[in-house]
Point group: D2
Chain length 338, copies 4
């Protein structure tokens, strides 16, 4: 931590800051500047939060943190990239992994048919929502356990591992029985009760960035899972909220190289939720692979016009097949497989 | 809903849109324009979401919603303002209600002392966190049930009703035993499992706006509670996330008159979390009362420099006393009591 | 400046950073931390920008600035608040100054009539646009010099000093002939050619915050004017762009106390452009005075339904009269006059 | 335009709205809904702005625009993509065009050397700033005409056409003498005096998106140039301002497919200003080509550590050479040349 003193702060102010820093377990180092002085606080990380209390002291302008707030997710702590294995599908290795499927599981015919179609096109995992957090209580909320059973049938039929969202900590056990990978949705990125329990679960987690979550906070959220012992976390960039309304969210494509620079964890991209319109999904999918993402999460529905949720952003199976061919070319161009 | 056709869309496109609208239960009305045509869809509200599927059809430019997505919270449905009563303290009536207390309950002496001090200064309710959702798993997470017991002791000592946050749906029963009002924090504004259960609980709810929640979404979130039968909801504006970093969040002061225009529910303001610096709390508190807020939620700590969380934004009891006098003058100037 | 080294940076990296810092004219002070080292750079302000080049060096994590980038606007440099005098109207003194008038000057009858009405209600200055920067080239762009002449007539009729926008550096001379105060609109906050010339002009400047300008950048923009010798700058908060769409912009009410803490310059608030709807203007005006603003800039039009620009956000003269009475009560409650 | 009436608006309200609409030159069409009524206004585009005045009338909830505010830039008006030719370099054709060079022209040796290096690596045009709009008046502001002359020397030496920024309308004539393409910087996207004059100039314009400009406003800004007769406009996405601070701006990669869907104009991407750190430039450049951009604008400096501006985001010539090879592979993968 660096304590920046105000211009005109007195020696007494400075002495009191140093004294308080020592009480908090830091060793203070004063640098006397031309305009103002600063105090470097050397100490262990645990005191980070307490150091901010110094900001209220007389003569102090601000406290600037130096250490990163996350540890286990940091590339400074673990330099080699992590590979997360979901029933043999590897995230963070040379392959770009495409997960595809409908927003919601709506029925057996729908989910099994889509699973077969996306598998044939080259998808490696199946997605589908059984518990849907919806902005309106009057909207379709998902089939619940029935949806999970249908996902399991689709897995039987195709061999594709399944990822599905868990919303309520009370449902973790139930979802665990059916899913191969838990998905945490954007709205739950700071549902710490849920994250902590998933940290104790024995299955990989796909963690979606919240729509107003900074990348530092995104990595902090993984810390809740990692610090409980579950190291199998895959991040997912899915767009952030900005002033721009042409797309549902603004895909923060830079999130991928930034996460790669700061963390060892794999990261994939969800172009469907970012765009909100299926017409933009192919271009954004190519951008995601080119920028270095380890995979994609794409919504595919047999009849988007009749989807019970997010129809506007779902590809048809035919559109998906044709996109997959284009994606392979981009993957190869950046030295990946698909 | 209004379906806007593209310039150059054919009569066939238009016919297919009308046909699909009828299948979805709407009566379509075509308006032939100079540049392009539009189709007005008349129908009941339940079909709203399905209508968006039309957006993917050929010849369609976009679908524009007309109805508001919330019902029970709407002033169009209930014109007279609602008053929410918490053990005799009335939100939404002529009085401006000040809730004060520390961010976290840290010990008996701390919470009882603060309760007495804020009561003496004119606060009408006590706040204090027992379950703290923190961005870092390494930060203080609250005292849990022990904290709730200490809050109850402070209530016994002062008679002030207490409001405290509930984070996990599994804790609702526990918090119910001690609290007079549930608080839902900004991070849980879209934790629909939690909101639904609170809608079934028999105590009032203080619902804080999420940091990237639009006002329409804020009112939609209340709908989860109201539609389950609990009509005692008080909203709380606490700042939104923007590009500005001088304050912790950007207090959206306009939220108060906008909510008053759109809804019958009471709304209060939390200047402490918005500012993030205690120095700005007095000015923002005055602005909140002047703009028409029904109350304030202010952090007060006996020794902010030693607070276990949010010390930088807490007032001292003396600062709070002096502020309360200034607030009374503003309340009277805008025709309220305090 | 503080140079934060990476965890694992070598002594050689550190030595090279110190050597480069000395070349740039700084004296480096190394603080050896537990996790990583930091280097404090002591030196004069002019080298600030160059120091960022160090960020690209091996072993460097980031460079953190410590000094504020603005000087003449800073309260650290000039502690007592500045008072800006426009023909006897004082901004930054005990009085809250209300400037009122239409968005655009549309005709003699309109502007003279409004001037008389707002004067009678207590406004101290008249606003009115002759050069209108419009998002669409197809929208009304103002009457130009003819508009300036009409403003001058309204001044003759009422004695109210006038403020009007200047958009193009080439028009400064022309506007100077008629106006008592130049207005720089939100779109020109970084039109440095314009700001520099206004710094050389001999009339006060009302500088509106840009819609994505941070408060630090806002103060930096004043530096362009102040450093050329013109010290008569009044700031104006008018809303920033965020994700919220209920209001035209999000009024950043905290900007007022933040500017008061960081700078000695007066600041007023424009609730009309922030709200975008006249219905919210009264509440926001009261909030602005309560938060400590030195004045208000309010749009008033004799017939808002027929205004050539911004009709939706303009008050009628009657609404303005009734608002002024309410504002006086708030001003007195916070120890100001009006 | 669609006028949405309030629930509970009377027939009289409705009649008055229809009457006013007719006065404004529209033909009103009422649709009677279950909850509320709406009025479709059919008319020519010029009345668009005036229609918003209806929003203030009794019984009106809001006015929703249907037509797009821009015309000449719209793909609905001109379906085939435009190709902009700058001395033989074609934007919007099959080739992906890379423009490279330093942020500022600093001296003859610097600019000529860089020009030769980037040409050898495959760049098709040279960039370099002679007039630099800087947030701080104390920062390097560019060499002015001397810089333009040095750019011309670099063109002579290499044959690369040059693009350089013009900031002040008064400098257009001067810049015209030296440059092959005008650049309008992000801060001037709403400097309408500048845009209008460039619309009358006889050279192509590279228009950078402002940091808080929506895509609709971006296209509106082109309308100022196009409507004056200059049809040679190339757009440039360079990142928008959001809450995320890991990168200097948030590259809105979706802007490319959105502009391609809405407009016929070519669009390129500036990954350097978006990232703010040279380390992220390669990944973002690949993403830009993959998403469908017609070109790139990349900062290259012979010694980034010694650059007078933006050193942190500049590539070295060697980094640029190696990047160009990688970019070619991506361009081919998406069916383009380079």
């Amino acid at each position: 931590m660096i304590v920046v003193m105000k211009i005109g702060a007195t020696q007494e102010h400075l002495d009191l800051v140093c004294k308080r820093a020592e009480e908090l377990g830091f060793t203070p180092h004063v640098i006397f500047g031309r305009e103002r002085n600063v105090v470097g606080l050397v100490g262990i990380m645990g005191n980070r939060e307490e150091a901010f209390r110094i900001e209220n002291m007389d003569g102090v302008d601000k406290v600037v943190p130096i250490s990163k707030p996350y540890k286990l997710a940091s590339r400074e702590v673990k330099q080699e990239p992590s590979v997360v294995d979901v029933c043999g599908v590897k995230f963070g290795a040379k392959d770009v992994v495409v997960i595809a499927g409908p927003c919601s599981v709506e029925g057996e015919r729908q989910i099994v048919m889509v699973a077969e179609q996306v598998k044939a096109a080259g998808a490696r995992m199946l997605r589908g929502g059984a518990f849907k957090p919806r902005t309106s209580p009057y909207a379709f909320q998902g089939l619940g356990e029935e949806g999970l059973k249908l996902l399991a049938k689709a897995r039987e039929a195709t061999g594709l591992p399944i990822v599905t969202e868990v919303v309520n900590p009370a449902d973790i056990e139930l979802v665990y029985k059916y899913a191969d990978m838990f998905q945490v949705g954007a709205r739950n990125i700071q549902n710490f009760a849920l994250l902590t329990l998933l940290g104790q679960a024995k299955k990989p987690v796909l963690l979606k960035r919240g729509m107003s979550t900074t990348i530092d906070e995104f990595l902090m959220a993984t810390e809740y899972i990692l610090s409980e012992g579950n190291r199998d976390v895959v991040l997912c960039e899915r767009g952030i909220r900005t002033f721009e309304t042409s797309t549902r969210n603004t895909l923060d494509i830079s999130c991928v190289p930034v996460v790669k620079a700061k963390s060892h964890l794999p990261i994939i991209v969800d172009p469907s939720h970012a765009a909100g319109h299926s017409g933009y999904v192919p271009a954004l999918s190519k951008a995601a692979i080119a920028v270095g993402a380890d995979g994609l999460l794409i919504e595919v529905h047999p009849e988007p016009e009749r989807a019970m949720s997010d129809g506007a952003q779902s590809l048809t199976p035919n559109q998906f097949i044709s996109l997959m061919g284009e994606l392979r070319a981009v993957a190869i161009a950046v030295g990946r497989y698909m």
